[in-house]
C-alpha cells in the first residue's frame, strides 16, 4: 500500500477534491491544497480536512508533494501543468479525476517532464451540488474507481493509483484504456446527463412537482448540472457521446413504434431483458 509518509497535494478543492481530502486526512496522510478561493481553504482548515492550503501556487507546497491530485476542469488542468510543471518534485506521481481521458491524458503525458509521471484516474462518484462545503468521502462508498493508464505508464504508478482508489474507500478499482474509458463513460455518464437535461427542457413542466413520483425525480436528479464543466466534457468526448446518443435514439424510437403498434410480446421481451440486466447494477 502507499507509504503514509508521502505528502499529498490536491489542486482544486471543490466537491471531489474536498472529498479526497477528507478520505486521505482520515487515513493520516499529510494533505495540502491549492485552490482559487481563500474561502474554500478557510473552510477546509476549520473543518480539519487539510493540513495546509493556499489560494495561489505556493512553490514549496508543490515542490514537496510526492503525489499531486488534480481536481480541475480539463482545460484549466492542462494550463496549470504547462505553467507550473517546473515546480514538481523529481519522481512525483500526478493523477487526476477528469471525466474524459483521450483528449487529456496524451497531451499531459507529452508535455510533462520526463522525471515525473502522470497516471489518469476517474472516480465514478459525485453529487448534484458543488463546492468543498458539500464534500463527503461517503460518496466513494460502494462506488467504482477507474485507472486509465497508457503505454507510457510504469507498473509502479499504476499500482500506486489503484492503491489510492482503495485508500479513498472505493468498492471496486478497474483498469481501462483511454479509448475504452471514453466510450463507456459516453454511455454510462454523459448519455444519462443528456437524457436528464432533455427531460427537463422538452416541455414546460414547472407545475408538475405536485404530481410527480420518484421515477421522474430519479431520472432528473442529475439535471441540476454544472453547465461549464459538463459542456466542456461533452465536447471533449463528442464523437463517443453522439454515437451513444444515436444508439439510444434508435432503441427508444423502436420501443415507441412497438407501443404504437401494440406489439405486446416484443414490448414485454424488452422489459424482461431490461429487468434481468438491471439487477446487476445495484450497489452491493
Amino acid at each position: 500500500m502507499i507509504n503514509r509518509d508521502i505528502k499529498v497535494l490536491i489542486v482544486g478543492l471543490g466537491l471531489i477534491g474536498g472529498s479526497y481530502a477528507r478520505a486521505l486526512i482520515k487515513k493520516k496522510f499529510h494533505v495540502t491544497a491549492i485552490t482559487k478561493e481563500q474561502s474554500s481553504i478557510d473552510y477546509a482548515i476549520k473543518e480539519k480536512i487539510i493540513d495546509e492550503g493556499y489560494s495561489y501556487v505556493n512553490e514549496s507546497a508543490v515542490k514537496e508533494a510526492d503525489l499531486v491530485i488534480f481536481s480541475l476542469y480539463p482545460h484549466v488542468f492542462k494550463d496549470w501543468i504547462s505553467k507550473n510543471q517546473h515546480l514538481f518534485k523529481s519522481g512525483a506521481v500526478i493523477t487526476d479525476v477528469t471525466g474524459v481521458k483521450k483528449s487529456v491524458v496524451y497531451d499531459i503525458q507529452d508535455m510533462l517532464r520526463k522525471d515525473v509521471e502522470f497516471i489518469a484516474a476517474h472516480p465514478m462518484a459525485g453529487r448534484e451540488v458543488y463546492g468543498v462545503e458539500n464534500s463527503t468521502e461517503k460518496i466513494f462508498c460502494g462506488a467504482n474507481y477507474i485507472v486509465v493508464p497508457t503505454k507510457k505508464n510504469t507498473q509502479r504508478a499504476i499500482k500506486l493509483c489503484e492503491d489510492l482508489g482503495f485508500i479513498l474507500g472505493f468498492e471496486r478499482v478497474s483498469i481501462l484504456t483511454p479509448k475504452e474509458h471514453d466510450n463507456i463513460i459516453g454511455f454510462l455518464s454523459q448519455l444519462t446527463h443528456c437524457i436528464a437535461v432533455s427531460l427537463m427542457t422538452c416541455c414546460e413542466n414547472e407545475h408538475l412537482f405536485s404530481y410527480t413520483g420518484d421515477s421522474f425525480r430519479d431520472l432528473t436528479r442529475i439535471a441540476r448540472i454544472n453547465e461549464d464543466m459538463w459542456c466542456e466534457l461533452f465536447l471533449l468526448n463528442k464523437k463517443a457521446l453522439t454515437e451513444q446518443m444515436d444508439i439510444f435514439i434508435k432503441e427508444f424510437t423502436n420501443l415507441r413504434d412497438l407501443i404504437d403498434g401494440e406489439n405486446e410480446e416484443k414490448i414485454k421481451e424488452k422489459m424482461r431483458l431490461s429487468t434481468k440486466r438491471r439487477a446487476l447494477f445495484d450497489k452491493k
Copy 2:
C-alpha cells in the same frame, strides 16, 4: 376527516395494497383484504397489517365494507367489478390506485350500480420490487396523491378520497381530470420508464457494472419493471405516451445536434434551464 369506524376492504394485497393496509391499520381502521394468494394473506395476518383476509371473494367481507380500495391491474379490476358489484354495500365508496384513468374511470362509472360511487385516485409512489412482503407505508412519505374525479362524482366522495390521501401519509393531495392525469402521467411516469428500459436494452452492457456511477444507477432503477402491468398501462395510454415520447425524441435529437455542432452557448442555455427547473422537484 374519515370516520375511523368505517370498514375498509383492500382488493389486491401486493406492494401498494399492502402499503395502504400498513398505513390504515396504524391509524386504527378495520382493514380486510381479498387477494389471490393465501400466502399473502398469511403474511399480512402474521405481520398484523390486516384484521382479516381471504384468498377468494368472501361475500360478507364485501358486503360490510364502507370503503373498497382496488389495487389490481386495470383489466382485472374491471372484471372484478362486473362480476361482484352486486355484493357492495349500498352507499359504499370505491377507489383505486390504477396508473391510467381515461380508459378505466368512465367504464367503471358506467357499469356501476347507482347506489355506490367510484372515485379514482393515483398514489404516486412505488418501488421496483413487488408483493406485500416488500410493502411499506414509508413510500408515501413526501409523495404525491392525485384524486381524479369526473362530473359524476359527488363532493362527499371527492372529499373522502382527498382525506384518504392525507391519512395514508401523502405529502400533497391534488385533483386532476382523467385527461389531465393521463397526459401528465404519460410524461412523468410512463416516459421515464420507457427511457430506463431503452437505456438497458440499447446495447450489451452487462459488464459495465464495474465502471458505473450513480447517474446510470438512478436513471435505470425503474428498468426493473413488471412487464405485465407496465405493458398494459402503456397500451391503455398509448396516445398520450407516444406523443410524449415524440416530444422527448425531438428535444434529445436537438441536444445531440447542438453537441455535434459544438454550439456551446445553446448547450449551456439548456443546462441552465434544466438546473433551474429541476430545483423545484426535490422532496421537501
